[in-house]
């Protein structure tokens, strides 16, 4: 690798103090100070949905500042998973307060040489990560020893350049999270409109008549919009399940082009629209299984184990057997179905059964009654949501683009191939 002018190449241990979290068995409790492990570090942030807590006394005892080794995380430290979940760094902020287990290493840069955010991006960067891949050890559980960590490579220009590199990367990270937040807001707006119209039944320009008992059951109110109908969802639209082509046959998978979704694709993306899957299948694979493809803008719902996660595909796709996919038509659009599923998650969840994992039987799902809007209301709804949803898709595309650019830039900037001066 070639670095630009005035770049220094060292081992991490030469420019950072290195330590790890406590090896002591600390009693976890309901409340108290957070105690993080490698699992709590996610790209760019902490993942605190499942976090252990310890008492203040224990925290003071195990993470006092005067211990010989560095153990207490301080602002500007880089935390780095070294057991199990390896490789994702976290830059400690000034208002962070938590203890860490021995599954996390601390890299504390020498401030006269290394700018902490630069070190953070260095650890995220390809040179460091490739070196890491090559040195991972452990059969059952991967780990990196502190000594290995100390010998990992680092290259850096002068502090001024480091700051500029970090600032450029920061802009990308900020814009990506800004976009993700805006996508969430747009989704919430769309959902509020659905709720206002179809769960609170405040629909603009609609005439009402008295509801039949069945209509009351579905809408929970005594009036029913004129021109609407009720039908089992399986009769109103086409629904289908998925399949998994034999994993052992490489010809079913290698160089496949057909997008094939699993639950994790949806949960990882976490967005209303989804455009790509981790695994793709080949034409042969499609013929060798019971898979049926569905067109773009269908509504996919997970129906096994993790139930009720919904997304709309933007390309022709198929799924594994843990899904029920609803194919929209003139009467029930993708938008209407998407939010109907989200709003009726409890009702759908109630259909689930099974001991090993909860699963929704397609037959039962098909019997769920759904209110079908009259065509004027339906079109009004689609027209209202269209700009919001298109904006969501634009922002998603932008985010994908930004992530690619960020990766490209990161490797170029950290190798000095592009000079920031």
């Amino acid at each position: 690798m070639t670095q630009g002018n005035n770049w220094t190449q060292k081992q991490i241990g030469e420019v950072c103090l290195i330590g790890d979290g406590t090896h002591a068995k600390i009693k976890r409790q309901e409340e108290g100070i957070m105690y993080l492990t490698a699992k709590n570090i996610k790209p760019g942030q902490l993942k605190l949905s499942k976090v252990d807590r310890i008492s203040e006394t224990d925290f003071d005892r195990y993470f006092c500042k005067n211990t010989q080794s560095i153990r207490k995380p301080e602002a500007g430290d880089i935390l780095f998973g070294i057991i199990g979940s390896i490789g994702e760094p976290y830059l400690v902020k000034s208002d962070d307060l938590f203890g860490i287990s021995s599954s996390l290493a601390i890299l504390r840069p020498n401030p006269s040489i290394l700018w902490p955010p630069y070190l953070y991006y260095w650890v995220k960067g390809p040179i460091f990560q490739n070196a890491l891949q090559a040195r991972k050890a452990g059969v059952v559980q991967c780990y990196i020893s502190l000594n290995t960590l100390k010998r990992m490579p680092i290259a850096y220009p002068d502090l001024g350049r480091q700051q500029k590199i970090a600032a450029i990367m920061r802009d990308y990270d900020d814009l990506i999270s800004n976009n993700q937040r805006r996508i969430k807001i747009l989704e919430q707006m769309a959902q509020s409109i659905y709720q206002e119209w179809f769960t609170k039944w405040r629909i603009p320009n609609v005439e009402w008549r008295e509801a039949t008992p069945e209509e009351q059951q579905v809408t929970g109110q005594e009036l029913f919009p004129v021109g609407w109908a009720i039908a089992p969802i399986g009769e109103a639209i086409e629904t289908l399940s998925g399949d998994t082509p034999a994993k052992k046959k490489p010809e079913y998978w290698a160089n496949g082009t057909l997008v094939w979704y699993r639950t994790t694709d949806l949960t990882t993306a976490g967005t209303m629209f989804i455009s790509g899957s981790t695994h793709k299948i080949t034409e042969v694979g499609q013929q060798g299984s019971k898979i049926r493809t569905f067109p773009p803008y269908s509504v996919m719902m997970t129906s096994r184990a993790t139930i009720g996660v919904v997304a709309i595909n933007t390309t022709t796709a198929c799924t594994n057997q843990g899904f029920i996919t609803c194919i929209p038509n003139e009467r029930l659009s993708a938008y209407y179905l998407y939010f109907w599923i989200k709003e009726n998650r409890d009702r759908i969840f109630n259909l689930a059964s099974g001991l090993m994992y909860r699963e929704i039987n397609l037959g039962w799902f098909r019997q769920l009654p759904i209110a079908i809007p009259d065509s004027a209301t339906h079109h009004q709804f689609i027209e209202t949501l269209d700009p919001l949803c298109e904006q969501i898709q634009t922002l998603q595309a932008k985010t994908t683009n930004l992530k690619l650019t960020r990766e490209l830039l990161l490797s170029k900037l950290l190798s000095g191939e592009i000079d920031v001066e």
Partner: protein, 528 residues
């Protein structure tokens, strides 16, 4: 009105000092402490009765209904309190307990006699504190306090201690629904006897005499719990045939077809019951489950103990409602027998020691001869609860009454108003009630039953068969219409829009900076 809540708390704090100041574990001092409360209460009732006999000329029949224990002089609370400082209070208390047992045969070998293990100082303090359970208390306040202590010990002893206590509000709901006015009542997993005490209070509420109208039969595995149960009965003026034995293997009361009412909260999901020992036992007429789980053994025990008109109500884990395999076969038979009357889903955090939700099951054997034979009432009560402590919930009396009335309407009985609830069943009014009760009149106009989405539904057995015999109320009841959002739609949209605009401005700035950076890099590349 005295502030019971404060009083309970104060007394508990006094007793709880034992945790810090004695070498004993809660499991070791809970029984003696409950014994002192028992003594204080029995003494109080005795004093009241003495006064009445002196001052009134009441009919003999009424006196008989008073259900008062006889307390000998040496065991009177005042006299214990006034023992000289040098007296060995531990020994004095032991012999006081012996003296009470001697005069009240029902309590033979039941009362705690381990007071010598507590120091004089602590005992004197406890006696003084419990003495302040003062004269201005009316009704069954002592019973309340006794229950409060039982439940607090259940909590402080964790999982294990919880064995002897079923949350009172669940017991009350079961009692409301099966209405054990008179007859033989059986609890084969009776613990401290909460089911019996509540049914007695139900009988009293209807101006009947629990000591003559109901017969109490219990079976319990843990000997200490049997003693607690008998003390608990005695303190409420009841007697019963409570015996210690392992219910899985021993049929102490020869129970098949014998009882008018069965109420129970059996332990959930018990494994390792030896099926060899019970394979020909008539108490399990629907077959033994293949899985190593006793839930369907308990269900059959309750079912088979009922006589032709008997009713049962019991607490179950949620899993039996959907269990597969042989358990499904047993459930199928049970449902087709036509005795399953109702299933009530209860939310989480009702138990003192575990957070898990549960289901209440109700049988009615008389139902096979009436029009409800082919029907089961499903109630989803998960939205009803009030908070007691941070993570502990119960039904309020109004909620219990509401749920009980749904069943009464389904049976064609008349509904009852909350006003008929006994005065002493009181909860801390400071706790907020959740799942605000729907307006009764609007929900059930003219007190006539109807299916209410999210709350209740009558399902035909044929419909249950279509749902693979699932007894999960959610399947049938559906979901309630969403409550009106407090936040106005316009306001919410405005708020979202404001944030979106702010983010967009910020995004433009970032986009501008990124464009500049990239343009610069592109230029550099171009120049090369």
């Amino acid at each position: 009105m005295p502030d019971y809540y404060q009083l309970e708390k104060r007394l508990w704090d006094a007793a709880d000092q034992l945790r810090a100041n004695s070498k004993l574990k809660p499991s070791e001092y809970s029984l003696p402490v409950l014994g002192l409360i028992f003594l204080r209460y029995a003494d109080y009732k005795f004093t009241q009765a003495l006064q009445r006999y002196h001052t009134s000329d009441r009919p003999v029949a009424e006196r008989e209904r008073e259900r008062v224990l006889s307390i000998p002089l040496q065991a009177r609370f005042e006299s214990l309190l006034n023992r000289p400082p040098e007296a060995n209070l531990g020994e004095e208390l032991n012999s006081a307990m012996r003296a009470i047992e001697a005069e009240n045969p029902a309590l033979k070998n039941i009362l705690p006699k381990t007071y010598h293990r507590l120091s004089n100082e602590i005992l004197r303090q406890l006696l003084t504190d419990f003495h302040t359970i003062a004269l201005d208390i009316e009704g069954d306040a002592f019973g309340r306090i006794y229950e409060y202590f039982l439940s607090n010990f259940a909590m402080s002893e964790g999982q294990k201690g919880g064995e002897f206590f079923t949350p009172t509000s669940l017991v009350k709901l079961i009692v409301e629904i099966i209405e054990p006015y008179h007859g033989r009542i059986f609890d084969p997993a009776c613990g401290s006897g909460g089911m019996f005490v509540q049914s007695a209070s139900f009988v009293e509420k209807r101006q009947k005499n629990p000591s003559t109208d109901i017969g109490i039969y219990g079976q319990e595995k843990i000997a200490d719990n049997v003693r607690l149960c008998l003390m608990n009965l005695a303190i409420h003026g009841l007697t019963g045939d409570i015996r210690q034995s392992n219910t899985y293997y021993e049929d102490i009361h020869d129970c098949v077809g014998k009882f008018d009412f069965v109420m129970a909260n059996p332990p959930f999901n018990v494994d390792k019951v030896d099926k060899e020992k019970i394979k020909n036992d008539p108490r399990f007429p629907l077959g033994l489950p293949r899985v190593d789980n006793a839930n369907y053994l308990w269900i059959q025990l309750f079912y088979s103990a009922l006589n032709a008109k008997g009713r049962a109500g019991f607490v179950m884990a949620n899993s039996p409602s959907d269990a597969r395999g042989l358990e499904l076969e047993i459930r199928k038979k049970l449902i087709h027998e036509g005795v399953l009357e109702a299933i009530v889903a209860v939310g989480s955090h009702f138990f003192y020691t575990v957070g898990l939700p549960c289901t209440l099951w109700f049988f009615d054997r008389a139902k096979v001869n009436n029009p409800r034979k082919d029907k089961v009432l499903f109630i989803d009560a998960r939205q009803f609860y009030q908070h007691v402590y941070r993570s502990h919930r119960q039904f309020s009396d109004e909620q219990i009454q509401f749920l009980g009335n749904i069943v009464r309407m389904y049976r064609g009985q008349s509904v009852e108003s909350v006003a008929t609830l006994p005065e002493h069943t009181r909860y801390n009014p400071a706790v907020p009630a959740y799942g605000t009760l729907p307006n009764w009149e609007e929900t059930f106009p003219n007190n006539i039953y109807r299916d209410v989405p999210g709350l209740c539904r009558i399902a035909l057995i044929s419909e249950i068969a279509e749902q693979s015999y699932s007894l999960n109320p959610g399947r049938y009841v559906g979901i309630a219409p969403q409550p009106e959002d407090d936040v106005n739609f316009q306001d919410k949209l405005q708020e979202l829009h404001d944030e979106f605009e702010m983010l967009t401005v910020e995004a433009r700035e970032l986009e501008g900076r990124i464009s500049k950076t990239i343009e610069r890099f592109l230029k550099v590349k171009g120049n090369e």
